[in-house]
């Protein structure tokens, strides 16, 4: 039934209106830069960060030079190469953790919003509890207790970051549920599963897409924070970990600004990219919903942005 719903014309129409959002375009560009950097890291990076290098005292925190454009770190490794490879970890964590978050959040939100009653009460109480527990300390505790592997970190960040999405999706589901076309679907004899699949989901999906992009930035930020606190996979060098090493291993006293600035810029860049892209998408998906008062509201996305702040 839905195989014609997303036709090529609607994708073209989507692009045509997305093009009009300057912020969205900037966000998309910034986002693509990070993605391309991560994908083609081996081709771009001048050195392989995993390579064992013989280090002399001069190589530690060496200032930028022709050989090392952005200098070296405490172990004499090339900062630029570390930075390029670090984007991989940040993006992997960002994508996977946000998918986990969005999946849980959408599931909880749709079930609570659609079925109402006791299911809603239980789920939303649980969401509220999760919401008031500060994410970061809990993540620190969990990661510290388990092995700080990349997948553990992804799982912890994903499992803690869904509450905002759940509330957002729930309120949108509540609004969509009230609409007359849902009543019409019932009147033709449709069951709950059919209504969720063909009527609720397509109307909630734009919100979910926008929210995913915003949650990616949240996840990247969380990963950086955990790594900065030293809770990260020692084998996966991320931007946060670069910062951690720089701070704990004397980059400040060595005045090696390059070891701090690059990973910091990377984090800000990625977070900004997702936020701008999310806002651009929101602007496009909003009128396309072609609804009067129930579309993805600006205030909803703002709330999403607040969560990450």
């Amino acid at each position: 039934m839905s195989d014609t719903a997303v036709s090529t014309t609607s994708i073209r129409g989507f692009w045509r209106s997305f093009r009009r959002s300057r912020m969205g375009l900037i966000g998309l560009f910034m986002f693509l830069v990070v993605v391309l950097m991560a994908v083609f890291a081996p081709a771009i990076a001048p050195y392989d960060p995993k390579e064992v290098v013989r280090v002399t005292i001069d190589d530690i925190y060496a200032a930028p030079s022709a050989e090392h454009w952005l200098g070296t770190d405490d172990a004499g490794r090339d900062v630029l190469s570390n930075f390029i490879y670090g984007s991989r970890v940040s993006l992997i964590v960002g994508f996977f953790a946000s998918f986990i978050s969005i999946f849980i959040g959408s599931f909880v939100g749709i079930v609570a919003g659609f079925y109402g009653g006791r299911a809603e009460n239980i789920l939303m109480r649980f969401t509220d509890i999760m919401l008031v527990i500060p994410d970061l300390p809990l993540a620190v505790v969990i990661v510290a207790l388990t092995k700080p592997s990349l997948w553990n970190i992804i799982f912890v960040i994903g499992a803690l970051g869904w509450t905002g999405s759940a509330r957002l999706v729930r309120s949108q589901t509540l609004a969509v549920k009230q609409r007359k076309f849902v009543l019409r679907a019932r009147s033709i004899g449709a069951g709950n599963m059919h209504i969720i699949r063909y009527h609720i989901l397509p109307m909630v999906l734009p919100l979910i897409v926008v929210n995913t992009v915003l949650v990616i930035s949240l996840a990247i930020l969380n990963e950086s924070t955990l790594s900065f606190l030293g809770l990260s996979d020692p084998t996966a060098l991320s931007w946060g970990q670069m910062l951690n090493f720089a701070f704990t291993r004397g980059a400040m006293s060595a005045r090696a600004w390059w070891a701090l600035v690059m990973p910091g810029l990377g984090i800000v860049w990625a977070v900004l990219a997702c936020t701008l892209l999310g806002q651009g998408l929101e602007q496009v998906l909003n009128p396309r919903l072609e609804t009067h008062h129930l579309a993805v509201g600006v205030q909803m996305v703002d709330r999403g942005a607040e969560v990450q702040a």
């Binding site: 719903a5 007359k180 009543l183 019409r184 033709i188």
Partner: protein, 327 residues
């Protein structure tokens, strides 16, 4: 009509909506009496018009009839079977035979689905045409029966690309595709331009002719039904106050409320012209109903006993019923 088994029968149907208490001191729980003790039958192939002013409970009656709102009291029979408390699969199965055309064609179509998908949806839901081509053919036929010709012009468009009249035709096509036995048309033309109304009404009338569907036609405008309803039921504040054959109701209305409605109706036929009766006051709210006859605060011929006695439902002429103490 005939003695054959009615396709739908309502017995003392009641739908109350609880109202949120407004004050801390109010003890009793209050209700909106949206549908209050309604009984009638709908025969196969018959068009019954349900007439009443806005807010009298017409839509609620239709929704309750399909169990889209749970009835508070009373019984609903479909082809002689009690369907009041159906749920799950049997309920979905029953709904297949009773289709509804909603009041607002701008809201009743999902904006993310194409017209083709919308009309095919009932078939998908009931797994009626697993074969894609056969399903497509049926959708095309339904669209063209509903006056959207050629159907290929509409199949791949989205609701927002269509006019109000076209959307209402899509809703009708979606209802027809299941070949239902009953059509509940809830003010199908009230949101449309006057110029399109006649077309949609003619369409509904011809469907009754060609397919023998029973129609419950809901409207607030007596004028639109006069020419194709077999019987008329007049509703006031959740209750039916008069019911009878179209001609008898229009020519010899019994209830003062019907008389008032008719008197303000512009009629080309001078035989039907009457002195205008302008009703005094507002419709009372359906939460705190007037005592006795619920029409008495506005009734031009109200007597003192009307405030105490709730008039019984009586057959005053053959097959012409009314609830009024003064007829």
């Amino acid at each position: 009509m005939s003695e054959q088994q009615p396709i739908i029968e309502l017995k003392n149907l009641r739908k109350l909506f609880p109202v949120n208490k407004t004050s801390l001191w109010e003890q009793e729980e209050k209700f909106v009496h949206a549908v209050d003790d309604v009984s009638f039958v709908l025969h196969p192939g018959e068009v019954l018009a349900l007439v009443g002013e806005s807010g009298c409970g017409k839509s609620t009656l239709a929704l309750t009839l399909m169990n889209l709102e749970t009835p508070t009291e009373g019984q609903i029979f479909f082809e002689g079977r009690d369907v009041t408390h159906l749920s799950g699969k049997p309920l979905q199965e029953m709904r297949r035979h009773i289709q509804m055309v909603f009041q607002d064609p701008y809201e009743s179509l999902n904006p993310t689905m194409t017209i083709g998908d919308i009309v095919a949806e009932p078939l998908v839901v009931h797994r009626l045409e697993p074969n894609k081509q056969a399903r497509q053919d049926r959708v095309v036929r339904a669209l063209e029966d509903a006056g959207l010709k050629p159907a290929s012009n509409f199949m791949h468009r989205y609701p927002h690309e269509l006019s109000g009249g076209q959307r209402q035709r899509v809703v009708i096509a979606g209802a027809l595709v299941l070949e239902p036995k009953v059509l509940l048309a809830d003010e199908p033309v009230s949101m449309l331009d006057v110029s399109i109304r006649a077309e949609i009404l003619n369409l509904l009338a011809s469907l009754r002719e060609t397919r023998g569907i029973s129609v419950l036609f809901i409207t607030h405008d007596l004028g639109t039904v006069a020419y194709f309803a077999d019987r008329i039921a007049v509703m006031y504040l959740g209750r039916i106050v008069e019911m009878g054959g179209t001609l008898s109701v229009l020519e010899r209305p019994l209830h003062p409320y019907t008389k008032a409605l008719l008197s303000v109706m512009p009629v080309p036929n001078p035989r039907l012209r009457r002195e205008r009766i302008i009703l005094q006051g507002e419709t009372p709210n359906p939460i705190d109903l007037p005592s006795g006859c619920r029409f008495h605060p506005r009734c031009p011929i109200a007597q003192p006993h009307c405030q105490q006695t709730d008039p019984a439902w009586r057959e005053i002429e053959p097959a012409h019923w009314a609830a009024c103490l003064e007829v």
